[in-house]
Amino acid sequence: MIDPIEPPRRKNPLLRTRLPASPPRARSRTSHGFTRAAAEGRFMLQRCEACGAFAYPAREACPACLSVDLAFVDAPRRGALLAETTARVPSDVYFRERAPWRIGLVKMDCGPTMVAHLHADCVEGAPVLMSFQLDKSGQAVAFARPEGETPNMADDRQWREMTADPKFRRVLVTNGRSLIGQEAVAALKAAGAKTVFVGVAEPWRPFAGEQLLRGQQGIELVTLDASDEKSVTDLAADIGGKVDILVNTTEYVRPGGLLDRRGTSIARDEIDQAYLGFINLAQAFGPAMRMRGADGVNSSAAWVNILSVHALANWPAFGAYSASQAACLSLSHCLRAELRPGGVKVLNLFTGPVDNEWFQTVPPPKVAPRAVAQAIMSGLRGGLEEMYVGDVAEEIRQRLAANPKAVERELDK
């Protein structure tokens, strides 16, 4: 059983902030099958198409029958802890700083034996559930935790290294005017975030839900117009050093594609808000987040983007908007690489049409803003990188994997 983590004390200004170190990063190309699984919160192993045996670690040929026909498939997570050990003086800087560090050998029910990081409540001989997690270097590692819930389970020191749990952290939700932004604020507070800063552009414009945000313990309304460089840098000057999680809830949806619009002013607004807003936020808040990746219990941990799934496949009815989202998706990969040395995760949530005014005439299914907020929480707590929220997003993902050309034709209607 583990003790709950304590709310972090204020920092001692006489002490240098420790810089983040990264655990070993090298992986084979094939091993990135596990990276994909970890990014999406799935547990996948290679299985031989010829004999059905599961293999681990990543192989080029089946260890049982030498077939090269190995495919990553979702695999049963259950196993038993065979043996455990504690590394007390590791040579690697990252682990040395975090020693003692427990690892163990897990015999999976589906066959292979895996070396895994251990949750503190894992007991030798007892059943465990295995997952792939993204570590601070952004690579997949195997992590075993007890089969059932244990007290304060999410507070485990080694588990918290793999996740971006909002508990005791300070979060900036960039746009509090949107329904998703407001739901995210409520969910983050419920998840134990210490402070949620809520950005409001043009505070002279009233908006629905404003009263709910005002005057609540732990919620601070701040002036933030992501599309305005000065507004973003001014806010970062105030709070940049205490934003542990940034949730980019920029939302600028306008219908229309190319031929039925006149001029570029709407497209420009879309780019200003979504793309340039992203750049402004990244330049203002990113460097401090990257630097604070090992800054104690409330270290910086994650950056969340909410993207339309049409970033992946253009929806002509909202064609220019889709393109702005595609630009943001590309930027998110750049940001992920640049934040990686700090161990800060970039979580992209892909949604279909959200149940808001701009998709009013779009028939269901639409994603409830609350569902997006809940997905953000589970993504942060699970340490994920990619999530597809709602039926439309999930369907487009699957269909893109099967035949992108069919998706393109069928979105044109």
């Binding site: 043009e202 002279w204 009233p206 117009d225 002013s265 420009r268 200003d272």
Partner: protein, 260 residues
């Protein structure tokens, strides 16, 4: 006029015998702009982006790229801005006569009324009462509506409610009357537009825009410091940027006021 009079004016400005009052808000990203329903095209907000600031991007110099809509900040409306003025000659900021950029002003103080009622309206009887005190409004003068609205915080300044903005302005009759009976050169306000916040419901809608621009006259809005102007005798200098076929522009508006 003899050139020595002009020199005298310059000397008076320099000595302070003629006071120069700045009627302009600082052009900044956070100043409220006109709000239209989101399905309409929107004025680009004011954006100021550094090109360099004595740094690696330009070691010895500081400069910015600036973007904004024609109708942001303290700004000027040309006749071409409204459909009623679209076919007039020289109706845009680049073709309007330069001499129209300097004209005297009558300042009508309605600050007490506006403090009582955000939907306060200037009417013909109110202007007639002003004229009884200060004399008839001469032709080719600006009429500036002082409401002290420019002293408010920005939320109260925009004063948006769920049925639109509630800010003071002129009613339809007084605009028609000022243009047709008094021949004013233009109308200026402290609020976001020359029209009242609820003017979309007037007959005709937006009467200040409708009548001013239909007759080739001008608008000034988002003015400040009107409380420093006398009721009569101030001279307004308002020269908009020379934007090709421009419907208006942010500008520096100054008033020359005799110090005694």
């Amino acid at each position: 006029m003899q050139s020595k009079n002009l020199l005298e004016l310059a000397g008076a400005v320099s000595s302070g015998a003629v006071r120069v009052v700045d009627l302009t808000f600082t052009l900044s990203p956070d100043f409220p702009v006109i709000v239209l329903p989101p399905e309409f095209g929107q004025a680009a907000p004011v954006r100021i982006q550094e090109i360099s600031r004595y740094d690696g991007r330009g070691p010895a110099w500081y400069w910015n790229n600036v973007t904004f809509g024609e109708h942001t900040g303290t700004h000027f409306d040309a006749p071409i801005h409204w459909f009623t003025g679209k076919d007039l000659p020289n109706n845009s900021v680049d073709t309007m006569p330069a001499k129209d950029m300097i004209a005297p002003a009558c300042v009508i103080d309605c600050s007490a009324g506006a403090a009582q009622d955000p939907d306060f309206l200037l009417t013909v009887p109110l202007v007639e009462a002003w004229e009884a005190k200060h004399g008839r409004i001469p032709e080719r003068h600006w009429v500036l509506l002082r409401t002290d609205w420019s002293k408010k915080g920005w939320r109260d300044y925009a004063n948006l409610r769920d049925d639109g903005a509630h800010t003071p302005g002129p009613n339809a009759a007084v605009m028609k009357w000022l243009v047709e009976q008094r021949g004013i050169i233009g109308f200026g306000t402290e609020t976001i537009g020359t029209d009242a916040g609820q003017a979309g419901h007037f007959e005709p809608p937006y009467p200040a825009h409708h009548f001013l621009h239909g007759a080739g006259r001008y608008g000034l809005q988002c003015l400040c410091n009107l409380d420093e102007l006398p009721a009569t005798g101030a001279v307004i200098v308002a020269s908009p940027l020379k934007i090709q076929n421009g419907s208006g522009s942010p500008l520096r508006v100054i008033a020359l006021v005799s110090a005694n």
